[in-house]
């Protein structure tokens, strides 16, 4: 891992994956399974959990360093929801991670997450132990 190196990860999310995350996380907010509830608060339809979008994206880093125990910190701003259509294919989120700095055995990475034309996470960054 060197400064400037980057990786990309494409993750597909379907309604069934969103339901699975509701159960695993015990976040049963109706906007994650009901179009009716999602529209009532101005969303176009069911959206993925922000914490799913954050958690699934960290894989771009943990696949890279292999051992997830190396992750020291992780920050994201939730900028736009990931709207998940009721189709077999769902929707794809594209994540990138780029090494911004390595100092004292710790790499600082900047992350992006894009769904269609929307940046769904902002100012995302992680620190990992590399030595």
């Amino acid at each position: 891992m060197n400064v400037g190196d980057s990786r990309e990860l494409r993750v597909r999310v379907t309604r069934s994956q969103v339901v699975r995350y509701s159960g695993a996380s015990t976040d049963f907010n109706e906007i994650h399974f009901s179009d009716r509830h999602a529209r009532a608060i101005g969303l176009p339809g069911v959206v993925a959990h922000g914490m799913w979008t954050m958690g699934a994206g960290l894989r771009v880093v943990t696949d890279w360093v292999e051992d997830p125990a190396r992750v020291l910190s992780y920050f994201v701003r939730f900028t736009r929801p990931v709207v998940v259509p009721d189709t077999d294919d769902g929707v794809e989120v594209v994540y990138t991670a780029t090494v911004a700095e390595i100092d004292g055995g710790v790499a600082k990475l900047t992350l992006t997450a894009t769904c269609g034309n929307d940046a769904v996470l902002g100012a995302a960054r992680a620190e990992v132990r590399v030595a």
Partner: protein
């Protein structure tokens, strides 16, 4: 009475301990679509953001505090930060304690930064800091 900067520093009694299980670690990793072998062995560790499950359970104290006037269904998650001191693993009995760190009152919204400290046997394992955007009732 709404939440104000005067509430900064308020701490809530810890939530009952949460026991991490290997089954829940696997379930969570599968829900993230993450097949990293570290999550599927006898001495599995939890995916880093597993901490959010436990932290979110501590948020209940915030919404139950009538003085603050906060309602979960008018709340959006603005940002999330984790500092990981060590990975969570099966058998950990995790105590989560919530404190209010920052409050900014805006015209239609209150922005509340909360810090949940997760400890096992008194040792810190993760600090989970969240900014919650709470739409005021009169603006809804």
């Amino acid at each position: 009475m709404p939440i104000t900067p005067e509430h900064v520093g308020r701490h809530f009694p810890p939530a009952p301990p949460y026991t991490v299980s290997r089954a829940k670690i696997e379930e969570f990793a599968v829900a993230l679509g993450d097949d990293n072998p570290a999550y599927f062995t006898d001495d599995a560790i939890a995916p880093p953001t597993f901490a959010a499950i436990i932290a979110a359970q501590a948020w209940g104290a915030l919404f139950d505090d009538e003085e603050l006037g906060l309602s979960l269904n008018r709340t959006m998650h603005g940002d999330q930060h984790f500092d990981f001191h060590r990975p969570l693993k099966a058998g950990d009995e995790v105590v989560a304690q919530l404190g209010i760190e920052r409050v900014r009152n805006r015209s239609t919204m209150d922005m509340v930064t909360i810090l949940v400290e997760l400890t096992v046997d008194g040792e810190p394992v993760c600090s989970a800091r969240s900014t919650l955007m709470h739409t005021k009732e009169e603006a809804a």
